[in-house]
Symmetry: C2
Subunit: 138 residues, 2 copies
DNA sequence: ACAAATGATACTGATTTGGTATCATTTCAT
DNA sequence: ATGAAATGATACCAAATCAGTATCATTTGT
């Protein structure tokens, strides 16, 4: 299974391109060229980012998108949450009353640790870090 | 998203029950009572574990299942792999030629770290650890 | 007025997940 | 022998999620 869906990935890539662009305002057409994401899908995704206040959109001719926040204000977890909901790796399959025993809790513990690690890994990571040419060391 | 699917979870729970059971041979009926997993689904799942050599089955009246290996020989990752395939959290959405740039690689790095942590967390963990009453410390 | 952009929204198709249903086969107990 | 009680094999089904399409409405610069 994947931690990041295609949509989230597309979104991040689009944001990086917008952030790096020389242009004041970036159009879907620009992004289709640079990201190779199917146009209608990309549009929907950008509209979502606009509604969520990550992008700012301008309608009409010579319209397009800009970041609504600076790259260091855009948390990657925010983008993930928008498209995938809260990242919860350790969801228990069972209601508390079905699973009162401690048998599988040892497994839960492992899952919880991984969840915590993931949370710590993403903590504070913004678009700015992701934009960097050099992979960031964690 | 979840690291462990329902099926894997069911399977582990069933294995724990079989391992803990007083009976030499455990039937599906026994397990339906103790695990509350839908019978046909449980059957399919046990048959899979049998085919994979984790369980040993006995047909006919007074038949049922036993572990094919001792609890300390059954790796949890094995069970996960059987039902979910290899746990690969950091699959890249894009072919190398579509994604030659380093832009998102910083994100990949984070995903890789989480993947590695998960792998380390599960390394060497067997059914025996999972069976313990006290959650194991990692 | 019209072209070029986004907004809103409904729909579609593929895949995965969780679960059912059926029939065949084996084996113990009588 | 035979029948009940177990698993083996397999095909099917339904809901959810994921990825993507299609359409029409609205805005705006020239």
């Amino acid at each position: 299974m994947k931690l990041i869906t295609r949509e989230t990935d597309y979104a991040i890539r689009a944001l990086v391109h917008i952030a790096k662009s020389d242009k004041e305002i970036v159009t879907v057409t620009d992004l289709v060229e640079t990201t190779a994401v199917p146009r209608p899908f990309l549009r929907k995704l950008l509209q979502t980012l606009n509604r969520e206040g990550v992008l700012k959109s301008f309608k009409g001719k010579s319209g397009g998108f800009t970041l609504a926040l600076s790259p260091e204000e855009i948390l990657i977890t925010r983008i993930i949450t928008i498209f995938q909901g809260t990242m919860q790796l350790n969801e228990c399959m069972f209601k508390k009353d079905i699973c009162p025993n401690t048998e599988t809790c040892s497994l839960r513990k492992i899952l919880n640790n991984i969840q915590d690690y993931a949370t710590r890994s993403f903590a504070g990571v913004t678009l700015k870090e992701i934009m960097k040419e050099e992979p960031h060391e964690s």
